[in-house]
């Protein structure tokens, strides 16, 4: 267990590296979903403006 | 030709043109783009005189000496064709080893010694568990498991008669 966290003495390099990559993964998911939601909202507004909405 | 075929020719032309331009630029600037020079290039005088440059190669087995009572270390960098003695005062990187790759930044002294102010360890692309490394060492009697393999491209290779190509 201790060996795992200390990564043989390289912990200060290994764990930040994993953190940055995990952040990239999470950011991509959040970013993409937000972009899709925004596009849907814009499309809804465009349709409403033209009176073609619900 | 049809507009589409013309666009295809244009796109291919762009890629081809940029490739050729890039290749020409890189080969024309090779001297400036060179990240490090190997010992043969140093010995044959290819390195611009009087400037700081990087020397890359392998640390000759058994060449590492520490001057007693000082922080200075001396070792020899080789590309299995020529050798350059190096003097360095400072802490060597963790992965610095005899028989392993090294890139040193510094300048040549008139006496033919390379005085380095920075030494970087260059390691190869082989990864293996310690047990495998030990059994390879036992089988081949070398201190580095991969020393029996052909030197990898990109690391200094045993030199054929000097060519004008970079690596």
């Amino acid at each position: 267990m201790k060996q795992f966290f200390e990564m043989g003495g390289y912990a200060a390099f290994v764990w930040p590296a994993y953190a940055v990559t995990l952040a990239a993964i999470v950011l991509n998911i959040v970013w993409a979903r937000r972009a899709l939601a925004r596009s849907r909202e814009e499309a809804r507004r465009r349709l409403a403006m033209r009176g073609e909405g619900p | 030709m049809t507009p589409r075929r013309r666009r295809m020719a244009l796109v291919l032309g762009i890629v081809g043109g940029v490739s050729i331009a890039g290749a020409l630029a890189l080969s024309a600037f090779r001297q400036n783009v060179t990240f490090f020079f190997d010992p043969t290039q140093v010995v044959t005088g290819e390195v611009p005189a009087g400037e700081r440059f990087r020397l890359g190669g392998m640390v000759t087995q058994g060449s590492l000496h520490r001057a007693p009572g000082s922080l200075e270390v001396r070792f020899v960098v080789t590309d299995f064709s020529h050798d350059v003695p190096v003097s360095y005062t400072g802490v060597l990187p963790d992965l610095f080893r005899e028989g392993a790759g090294v890139v040193a930044h510094g300048h040549m002294r008139p006496d033919g010694t390379f005085v380095a102010d920075e030494v970087l360890a260059k390691h190869d692309e082989k990864y293996m568990p310690p047990a495998v490394a030990r059994s390879l060492k036992r089988r081949h009697g070398q201190s580095r498991a991969d020393a029996t393999a052909a030197p990898t491209p990109g690391a200094p290779a045993p030199r054929a008669p000097p060519s004008s190509a970079g690596t």
Binding site: F4, G8, G9, Y10, F13, V14, A17, Y18, T21, A23, A24, I25, L27, N28, A35, L36, R38, S39, R40, A43, R44, L47, G53 | R4, R7, L10, V11, I14, V15, V18, S19, G22, V33, T34, F35, F36, G56, P93, D94, L95, F96, E118, V119, L120, K122, H123, E125, K126, Y127, M128, P129, P130, A133, R134, A145, P153, G154, A155, G166, T167
Partner: protein, 245 residues
């Protein structure tokens, strides 16, 4: 046969629906492979004879670097298709790729620096591979900047596509830099024609991570693509159905 399929891919409503259907098929296998690869790489794989546990950075650095190149290539191919065949959906694909590629190029550079400091003795050197990878990041940012800067969708599609195509020359440069020139970065361990230079126990988690990241790219691309396709459609009744769903 193939051409009907190809032409259907040019139809925005078809692509939108297809992307929505396909996403879980990429997302779930990606999640499994990445979790499995992390377990294999951090726990199961033995330490390296030279670098000890420090070598485990490879399980995030190599997949990130692979992503930076693979995504750019995808982006450039999509951009070329968009330019040659004048297909809007192709430009939408390219636009979707850019932020994904940029973020993993950044991750590759940072994880590489964190790996370089203990193993080489420096966070950064202007060696051929590192320098060309940094240029790749600027290419991505340039592509995104061009898109953001040009108002008219058609102009921004074309201009950014030209940049993407011009920049694709950098991809083989990055990959072959370590064999063409003297460099600090070592030669490829996996992406090579000869046998991999890695013990199997270390290689398997890496392959899982590489495949997992690739599928992850597919999933994120599909989500972004839907947004891009939506934002390009002015009228069309199919939008009404989507929006009211």
């Amino acid at each position: 046969m193939t051409w009907t399929w190809f032409h259907r891919l040019g139809s925005p409503p078809y692509v939108y629906a297809l992307a929505a259907r396909l996403t879980p098929w990429f997302a779930w296998p990606a999640a499994l492979l990445i979790v499995g690869g992390l377990w294999g790489g951090l726990v199961l794989a033995p330490p390296d004879y030279q670098q000890g546990d420090g070598f485990r950075i490879i399980y995030v650095h190599a997949p990130s670097a692979w992503m930076s190149l693979m995504v750019y290539t995808t982006m450039a191919v999509a951009a070329a298709v968009g330019l040659i065949w004048r297909i809007k959906v192709a430009h939408a694909v390219a636009a979707s790729c850019a932020p994904i590629g940029a973020s993993f190029t950044f991750a590759a550079l940072v994880t590489g620096a964190l790996w370089g400091e203990p193993m080489w003795g420096t966070y950064w050197e202007w060696d051929p591979r590192l320098t060309s990878e940094l240029i790749l990041l600027f290419l991505y940012l340039g592509y995104m900047g061009l898109r953001a800067g040009l108002e008219d969708t058609q102009r921004s599609d074309r201009a950014s596509a030209v940049l993407a195509v011009v920049g694709v020359v950098n991809v083989p440069i990055i990959h072959y830099s370590v064999t063409w020139w003297n460099s600090l970065h070592q030669a490829p361990s996996v992406m090579r024609l000869a046998k991999p230079t890695m013990a199997a126990s270390m290689l398997v988690p890496l392959l899982m991570m590489l495949l997992g990241f690739t599928l992850f790219f597919g999933a994120v691309l599909l989500v972004r693509l839907r947004g891009e396709v939506l934002s390009r459609e002015r009228s069309a009744s199919w939008i009404r159905e989507i929006v009211n769903a």
